[in-house]
């Protein structure tokens, strides 16, 4: 009987834990400069907060949590078509640019869209962007020429901890990530 009770409690606790996932937080950290003169900015926002507030913003091209992109052709590149193609394509490397003072790599790997930029003579300027595919799909879930930011934030909340953006420059670093902690680092 005791075993049954313990099992029942365990099942109930597991169900509750699954039903109420910990709220995810979006963190932005910018460190500019080094030593005593460094300036740091840290922003921590609960994703649930962003999800609820975004639809309330009705400004310019952002309405009800969706951004209208009227001009999809940017210097001959159709952003919408590229994003759709990336979504529908298997894992692989799409763009590789190797120049004297920098490299650019765009790939899809293990369910993530990856963008890597290495700039500077020694490759000391690094930009890494990682977007989980469910987030990209949610972003494209609206009408044509529309990015659904609110849906993307929702998808981000359902996804695990993720480092979205990392920029390392000579004197500054920028990081954007999502996790379950309510404080950065």
């Amino acid at each position: 009987m005791k075993v049954l009770t313990v099992l029942g409690i365990l099942v109930l606790a597991t169900g509750l834990a699954l039903a109420a996932p910990a709220d995810k937080w979006l963190h932005v950290s910018v460190v500019d400069g080094k030593g005593g003169k460094a300036e740091t900015v840290r922003v921590n926002i609960p994703l649930s907060f962003a999800e609820k507030v975004l639809p309330a913003i009705q400004v310019d091209k952002l309405h009800n949590g969706k951004v209208k992109i009227e001009e999809c052709d940017m210097n001959g590149l159709n952003l919408w078509a590229i994003l759709e193609a990336v979504r529908d394509t298997r894992d692989g490397e799409f763009v590789t640019v190797e120049a004297k003072d920098g490299n650019v790599r765009v790939a899809k790997s293990k369910g993530n869209l990856l963008v890597k930029v290495r700039d500077g003579k020694k490759g000391d300027q690094k930009v890494d962007v990682q977007v989980p595919m469910p987030v990209l799909e949610a972003l494209l879930s609206g009408e044509k020429n529309e990015l659904d930011l609110a849906a993307a934030v929702r998808a981000l909340g359902a996804h695990g901890d993720t480092l979205l953006v990392s920029v390392n420059d000579e004197g500054s670093t920028v990081r954007v990530w999502v996790d379950s902690r309510n404080e950065s680092e």
Binding site: E39, F49, V53
Partner: protein
């Protein structure tokens, strides 16, 4: 029963009612919290200002300001009010459901700014070389003020695109 005795008995009957009303009012004021502003200048001759205003008083007070007076005082913010008041209201409402934590932290040489959430209160703390400023505002009050701003906002001009 003389008039004096009748007056005394009415007063005695009203006292508990007044006490209950005072208790309820006190509970409401306590529940809504207070807006606290403190400014402490640094240095030997630095002055300090500390201000505590019950949020209930602010919330009640704003309803006595006629909408047209607000529009007259700041006609140019009409569009901004219409656009951002609902956002501010949604933000304040949602922040009340968020766990405590630091929302924004800026640190630089000689200056530190922190905006945090503690027990349903928004706390802004600025520490510079000259002074320390600390403002705490209950989120319920922010929501109430934002709602009032939204109601007080002038209607959009004719022919303007629908924003909601």
């Amino acid at each position: 029963m003389t008039n004096r005795e009748r007056g005394s008995s009415i007063l005695a009957a009203m006292l508990p009612a007044a006490a209950v009303a005072a208790l309820v009012a006190g509970a409401v004021v306590y529940d809504m919290g207070a807006v606290r502003v403190s400014v402490d200048e640094k240095g030997n001759n630095g002055e300090s200002i500390h201000l505590v205003v019950p949020a209930a008083l602010v919330s009640a007070g704003i309803h006595f300001v006629p909408d047209r007076e607000l529009r007259k005082a700041a006609p140019e913010i009409g569009d901004e009010m219409r656009q951002w008041a609902p956002v501010l209201q949604a933000a304040a409402r949602e922040l009340q459901n968020c766990p405590d934590g630091t929302l924004i932290q800026v640190q630089g040489p000689g200056e530190e700014v922190e905006i945090s959430l503690r027990h349903g209160t928004l706390i802004v703390h600025v520490d510079s070389e000259d002074e320390t400023v600390r403002v705490t505002v209950p989120l319920g009050l922010v929501e109430s003020v934002a709602g009032w701003l939204e109601r007080a906002a002038p209607p959009p001009p004719e022919g303007a695109p629908e924003t909601v």
